[in-house]
Structure formats: C-alpha cells, structure tokens
Symmetry: C2
Subunit: 319 residues, 2 copies
C-alpha cells in the first residue's frame, strides 16, 4: 500500500528545488513543509522571512529561477531609492517582494501569529501545499565570528560568509514552541524528508525546537535526508565552510552524524558515492544519484528517488 | 531695503506650484515652508505625509509634473502586488515613493520626531529650503459626511470627494503643538504667504494649531494669500464643494473671510476680478493676475507678484 503523506523539513533555495519535485509527484493535500524561520530578520522596519518566501514563491511559480530568491522579473526601485536616504541596502528587496513584507509586517503588528499570516499568504498566492513556519515565536540564528556576533543575514549576505565562524547559536530557541500543526505533521507523515538545506542554519533550528527532534526520533515513518553537498561542496551557501569551522570534513558522513539519532535513509550525490559503504555500515539506506536540481525534471527525479527510499524503508520496517 | 525672509503656509500640489516660483526668486536660506500634516495617514503600516512629500519632491525636482503627487517616472509594482494579498490599494504608492515612507516610518518608530525626520529627508534629497511639518504631534482631519466620518484620504482619494460634507474637524488639534521652528518662522519672516491650498483641510489645520493664528495676527510682516480658486473653482481638489457644503459661495470673498483676522493682501485670478472692489473695501491689498501655474514660468510670475504685494504692503506699513 502506497502511503503518501509527506512532511518536509526545509530551509530556502535547496529545499525549494526538492519541493518543486515533490509537488509534481504528490497531491497538495499530502504535502506539508515545515520551514526554518531562524534567519528571519527586520529590514527597514519590515519582517522578512526569507525561507518562507522562497518556499511559497516556488510553490506559486513566482520564484526567480536564476537567483533562487525573490520574485521572477522583479524590479528594485524602492531599494535603490532607500540608498538615497542613506539606508543600508545590502539585503535587496524587490518591489513586488516588498508587498509580501508589508503585508506580513502589518499583520504581525496587529498581533496575528506568523503561522496564520503564512497560511493567508499561501491562500493569496493559490498555494495548496501546507506551509508551516517552524514557530510563531522569534528564533534568531547568531553566527559568532572573528568579527563578533552577526545575524545570519549579516553573515551570509552582508559579509558574504567570509568571516570565520566560531560557533552558531539560536537565540530564543529555549522558549520558542513549534507552530501549530508542526508536531502533528511530523507524527502523521508516512515519509519524513529533510531537505538538502544547511544542517546548521536551516535544519538545525527546526530540530532544536522543543519536541521536534524527539518527534522525529519517535516517528514510525522513515526519515530520509537529501545531502546538500556535491563532492563536499554545497550548490549554494556556506555549509562546507561551517562544517570545516566546526571541525568536520565537508561530506555526507559528518552530515549523517548530525542527524544520526533520527535518520533512516540518505540520498547523496554520485560524486560522493565513495562514502556509500561507510554510510551503509551506519545502518542507513543510501542511494547515490545526480542531486543537482537545476531543472524541474531533475528536481522531480530526485524527489522520486527520495520517495522510493522512504517507501522501501517503510516496507522493510513493516515486514 | 529689500527684506527677503519668506515663510509659506502650505498644503500639497497648489502650494508646491507657488513654491517652485518662490524658490526660483529667493535664496534657499530665506525660504521656510510650514506644511500641513493633518492629511497624513497610515497605509500598509507606513506613515505617509502626502503634503510634506509633495513639497520636498517638488523642491528636489523629483515630482511628477502631470499627476502632481509622487515621483516622476515611478512604477507601482509593490502596490499591485499588495492587491494579490487582498489589501486595499486605492491610495497608490509608487515603488520609489515607498522608500520615503519606509524611511520615515522606521525613524518615527525609533522615537524620532517628524520634524527631525523631515529635515533628514530634505538633506538626503539635497533640498536647502527649510521645510517644517506643522507639528510633531498627530493631527488628523476628519470629514463628517452623509456616509459617516472619513479620514481626509478616504474622503478625497477613495470616495473621490463625492460624499456630502457635513463638517470638518481636526482630531488631536487641542493637544498638538507647533513643530520646533514654526512659531519662530512666523515671527522672523518679512513676508508671510498663504499658499493657494484648500483653506479647510490644508491651511485650516495649520492655523488651528496653538499659537499659530495669534502669531500671524501679531506679526509685523504682511500676510498675503493666493486664492486657490479660478472663477470660483479650484485647479485641483474639493475646495469649492467644501465651501458650498459649509454654506459659502465659492470665491475670493468667503476665502478672505476665512482669513479675515490676519490677512493683509490677496492675489486672485483675473477670472475673479469682479470681486476686487469688494475685497479692497475690506481693507485688503488685492492684485488680480493669471494664477494658473501650469509651468515653471507661470509659477515664477505668480511668486513675483505675491512678493511685490507683500513688499508694497510692508512699505506702506513702514511709512
């Protein structure tokens, strides 16, 4: 029997690439995405949720395929005009994208929780997949660097990930609760998928939320991750630099270690297939395929493989 | 001796037209504009000061000459994208214009007074004329209509001034104080000019601020108004409808009555010159010229006449 309820733990661009594949294979009502909000930030007084927007814009068919963030064809007139007022504009907000942040900020200021605002945003964009921000409470990734503590966006966008990372922490994580529906989406899923997102700043905050890691460990559904690394390097972002800074050799084995207590399967790139035996020795179901999701077809192929790994794990768990 | 310090009481578009003429004739350091803020409003969580922006954009050479509001060549991508989220967008904000409202709103939220933010805005736009919002405190024009109370922007922009006006009030006026510099600009001026702006919703709130009307009455400098009416009709806006609704026949005589206790001179349009003798009987120095300021040259011509009327009044007061 095909069991098709899928819950995805997601960061930004890498997750969105896998998600467009999953969305092509599953009914929207069978797909739930739990999205990192620890790299949310405030720019020009507006609450920006980069990962939530990347996920929603992708599902709405609005995302810029080249940049990976923002809205396709967007202009940047407002951002450039802000420079005139001496504002820092290293975090560029498109004009159409600004509407999202204006809408979200006004609703949050009116006291509405982010999960509710995100659901309304999804409806407005005709997105039927369930998209849940990980929490309605503020959690903020802080990167301690040689240059002092930086917010994630300062580290990634302003400093272009050039500062040496000393440690990473999630401010607010102790008191934050998972958003409504998050724990249930983990418990009710037939397949739990960890997107090819940064394990420290995208997946890490979700797993650090009260009850989430335990729910994944306890879940009867198989947990399958897709490695964000190809030949030890991420397609995008600083995952390899962070791994090195934290004393790991970038590759699928340290990744599997980070998820060790909850992982059942792993999809890695063929470039990393030399690690396959060592990963299988750790009791993981591993598949090595081309994981570069540069087109919709490639995204769908990776999604199909991830679901197949989950299905086979479920079948063997049941037998 | 030419005494050249000029203070202008200003609303939006009509005032901006006269101002571009005054700016062509006077040194920036001799010119101060006190701008109505009673039609400020909040859209999408942003503090919008329509008259302040019209004045500053005009002085910066950025204003849209056709529309009279906003920035020349601006686009409206953000506003259109807000419609997707079901937001009311009858008050259209351009993308470049949005930067102004983002800048202002963030600064106000940080606790800075509007006058300080406006001065910084002026510097950023290389405007050397002193532009003072009338008050740092919130004053809001409320139009009581047959359809209930409306904010000024709701009345003017959303309802297109079609609702019957019953009365006009300025919420917050009793506790509001003139912004720093306002009273001094009235006391120190050699000429006090009332722009061809709506007497009820643009000039009215400024005059209703504690101490302003008294300062104008007490001032040794002549007070000269430019009528916003041409043949009983305003170039723009609902001044005539408001006059009628409040029991006046639109024209320069009721206008002069509204300013009776403080006015020394009046510039009216040649279309209204039949009223000239009656106005002079009231002790006013009156000049009838072409007041339609559709080009910079016409604005400069009107400004020159206004200054000449003030100069001649000052000369006769001194003699």
């Amino acid at each position: 029997m095909k069991r098709s309820r899928v819950t995805l733990l997601a960061g930004g661009v890498g997750a969105a690439r896998l998600l467009r594949g999953l969305a092509a294979l599953l009914r929207p009502s069978d797909l739930t995405v739990i999205v990192n909000t620890a790299d949310d930030d405030v720019f020009h007084g507006l609450h920006v949720s980069p990962d939530v927007d990347t996920i929603l814009y992708t599902l709405a068919g609005l995302s810029d395929p080249a940049r990976g963030w923002g809205i396709d064809g967007d202009t940047f007139h407002a951002t450039r005009a802000l420079e005139r007022y001496g504002r820092e504009t290293w975090f560029r907000l498109g004009d159409r994208d600004l509407a999202t942040h204006l809408f979200r900020t006004e609703a949050l200021r009116a006291g509405r929780p982010l999960s509710e605002v995100t659901a309304e945003q999804a409806r407005a964009l005709y997105v039927e997949v369930t998209v849940l921000p990980m929490s309605d409470d503020d959690v903020r990734t802080v990167i301690d660097t040689a240059r002092g503590p930086l917010s994630f966006q300062e580290y990634l966008v302003r400093e272009r990930a050039r500062s040496t990372v000393r440690s990473i922490r999630y401010d607010g994580i102790r008191t934050a609760r998972p958003a409504p529906g998050v724990l249930r989406a983990l418990e009710a899923a037939h397949s739990l998928i960890i997107a090819p997102s940064n394990p420290f700043v995208s997946i890490g905050p979700i797993l650090a939320l009260a009850g989430v890691r335990a729910a994944l460990r306890r879940a009867s559904a198989p947990v399958v991750a897709v490695s964000p690394l190809i030949g030890g390097r991420p397609v995008k972002g600083p995952a390899d630099r962070m791994m090195r800074a934290l004393g790991m050799e970038p590759g699928p084995i340290p990744l599997a270690e980070l998820y060790r207590d909850l992982l059942d399967g792993l999809v890695i790139d063929t470039a990393d297939r030399a690690h396959l035996p060592a990963l299988e020795t750790r009791g993981l179901r591993v598949s090595a395929i081309d994981t570069l999701m540069s087109t919709q077809a490639r995204s769908t192929a990776v999604a199909r493989k991830v679901l197949a790994v989950a299905d086979s794990l479920r079948a063997s768990l049941a037998s």
